[in-house]
C-alpha cells in the first residue's frame, strides 16, 4: 500500500520537494548577503514581496495533493479496482491519507524551519520591526514555527475530505480553495484571541511594553492609562495553540473522509 501511495502521488511529492529546495536556496542566498549588508531591510523587502505569496501553499497542497486523492479515483472508476483487492477500504484510505498527511506536515515543518532561520538574520532591535517580526506580522506567523506544518496538513486533509464528499476533481478543487482561503482569513482574524492580553499600566518613562498592543485603555479624560498587550515571548504559546486548533480540525475532516469512503452506495 505504501508503494502504491507513493507511485500514485510521486509527481506531487517530487514537485513539492523541488519547490522546497528552490525556496531554501533563495532564502539561503538572500539571508547570507543580508547578514553582511549594511541595509538588511532592503534585502528583506526584495524577497518578502514574493515570499508573502507562500502563505497560500496550504491551498496548493489541498488542490494538488488532497482534492485529487479520492476524487480522481472516484471519477476514473479506479475505486472499483482498489476496493476489490484483498485490502480493506479502511486500510486503503488510512495508508493513503496517513502517509501523505505525515509527508505534508514534514514538508510544512521544513518550510517553517527554513523561514525561521532566514528571519534570524534580520535584527529586531532597531527601527520598525513589526514587519520582520514573526509574531506581529500575521503572514510570517503562519510561515514560521510549527504553524506551516499544521496548515499544510489541514490543506491536504481538507482537499481529501472535499474529494471524498464531492467525488469529482474539479468541484473538489473549487471547494478546497474556497474553504481553505476562508479558514486562513478567519484564523488570522481570531489569532489575537488565543490568550487574554496582559494589562500594562503606562508609566512616566514610557518604556517599550515588549509586545503587540491590541487595545489602549483610556480614563474619563481620554488619557491613555494602560495598554493591553500580547508579549513577544508568547510566540510559541500562540504557535502551539494554532497548531492544536488546525490539527483538531484536520482530524475531524479525516473522520469525514473515512465516513464518506465507507458509504457503499
Amino acid at each position: 500500500m505504501l508503494w502504491l501511495t507513493y507511485r500514485q502521488h510521486r509527481m506531487q511529492l517530487l514537485v513539492t520537494v523541488a519547490a522546497l529546495i528552490v525556496v531554501g536556496t533563495l532564502l539561503l542566498v538572500n539571508g547570507s548577503s543580508a547578514a553582511s549588508s549594511r541595509d538588511p531591510a532592503a534585502h528583506f523587502r526584495d524577497l518578502y514581496t514574493y515570499l508573502s505569496w507562500l502563505q497560500v501553499v496550504p491551498v496548493a497542497i489541498g488542490v494538488f495533493w488532497g482534492a485529487p486523492l479520492l476524487a480522481n479515483e472516484y471519477e476514473r472508476g479506479t475505486t472499483k479496482l482498489a476496493w476489490t483487492q484483498s485490502v480493506s477500504r479502511f486500510r486503503w484510505l488510512g495508508t493513503k491519507l496517513g502517509f501523505l498527511a505525515v509527508l505534508a506536515t514534514l514538508a510544512g515543518l521544513a518550510f517553517g524551519a527554513m523561514m525561521q532561520r532566514w528571519l534570524e538574520v534580520f535584527p529586531t532591535n532597531r527601527g520598525d520591526t513589526s514587519f520582520t517580526n514573526r509574531f506581529d506580522n500575521p503572514a510570517l506567523f503562519a510561515m514560521t514555527g510549527v504553524a506551516p506544518g499544521a496548515w499544510w496538513l489541514l490543506g491536504f486533509v481538507l482537499g481529501t475530505a472535499a474529494g471524498a464528499l464531492v467525488r469529482k476533481t474539479l468541484p473538489a478543487i473549487a471547494v478546497t480553495i474556497a474553504v481553505t482561503v476562508g479558514l486562513m482569513i478567519g484564523v488570522t482574524n481570531v489569532r489575537d484571541l488565543y490568550a487574554e492580553p496582559q494589562l500594562v499600566t503606562v508609566g512616566s518613562g514610557g518604556q517599550d511594553p515588549g509586545g503587540r498592543v491590541v487595545e489602549m485603555v483610556r480614563d474619563a479624560t481620554g488619557e491613555i492609562t494602560a495598554l493591553k498587550i500580547l508579549p513577544q515571548d508568547w510566540y510559541w504559546r500562540f504557535q502551539w495553540t494554532e497548531a492544536a486548533i488546525l490539527i483538531g480540525f484536520a482530524i475531524l475532516l479525516a473522520g469525514v473522509a473515512a465516513v464518506a469512503v465507507r458509504r457503499r452506495s
Partner: protein, 287 residues
Amino acid sequence: MTESAIVEATGLGKRYRRTWALRDCSLSIPTGRVVALVGPNGAGKTTFLHLAVGLLDATLGSVSIKGATAFLAQDKPLYTGFTIAEMLKFGKRLNPGWDDEFALKRIDSLQLPLKHKVGKLSGGQRAQVALTLALAKRPDLLVLDEPLANLDPLARHEVMRGLMEAVAETGMTVLLSSHVVSDLENTCDWLIVLNGGRVQVSGDIDELVAGHRILTGPAEEADSVSRRVPIVEDTRSGRQATLFARTEPVPLSPQWSERPVSLEQMVLAYLRRPDSASLPRPTLATA
C-alpha cells in the same frame, strides 16, 4: 442436485432514492459454473454484481460468496499512468494469493511489453491486462461486468478465449453479465435473466433450452393448449397462434407443430414478457 452454491442471494434488494434497481432477488449459483447474467440495459445487472462483490450495501436481504473473489468492473479501470509491470506489482502488493508467475506468463503470451503505459493500450489490450490482474489473484469466483462491451469482434473473441482457457485450467466459477446473448451461447452453462430489477430465469442452460418449445397452430385451439402448459409468450396473428411454452414434449392435435428453441429466442421471449418467470421450484433445503 448436490452442487454446492458459491453465490447465494436471499431477498436481495437495492434502492437508489425512490427507485428500486434490484428487487426481491433470490438465487444461488452452483460452484464450477460459467454463469451468464443477462438482461437489458438498466435491468440491475451491475447493481447485482456490485452488491455481490461488496462495492455496494444492500437495502434489503443479503448476498454471500464462499471463497476468494476477483472482480472486473465494466469500464476496466486501471491506473492509466502505470506501466503494465507496475499494474502487476499493484496486484502483487494488494493480494496475498497473487500468482506472479502466471501473470507474467499471461502478459508475455499476449505479447504486451511490461514497460508499456496502461493508458496507451488499445481497448482489447487493456481488457486483457485487467483480466490478467483478476485471474492472477487465483480466485474461486471471477465476476465480470460486461467484459466484452466496447471491444471489437476480434478482441471479444480473444478475451473470451483467454477467459475460457483459465476456466478450463482452474475450474473456477465465473459470473459474467452481458446484454448480448450471442456472446455467451457457447461459453456459459448457467443462465440468469434479470429484467426490471427482478430475476426472471435462473437455471442450467441446456435444461432450460430443452424445457422450452415453440408451438404453432390454429388460434381457436390456443386457449385450450395454454390451459395445459405454461406459456411464456402468446402471439396471435389472424388464425394462427404461436405459443412460446415452458414444457416438455406434449401430445398435441395434428394441426399443431412444435419446434425447439435457441438460447437467444428463449431469452428474448422472457425479456418481452417481464411478468413470466422460470425459476427453480423451492426445495426443502432452502425452505
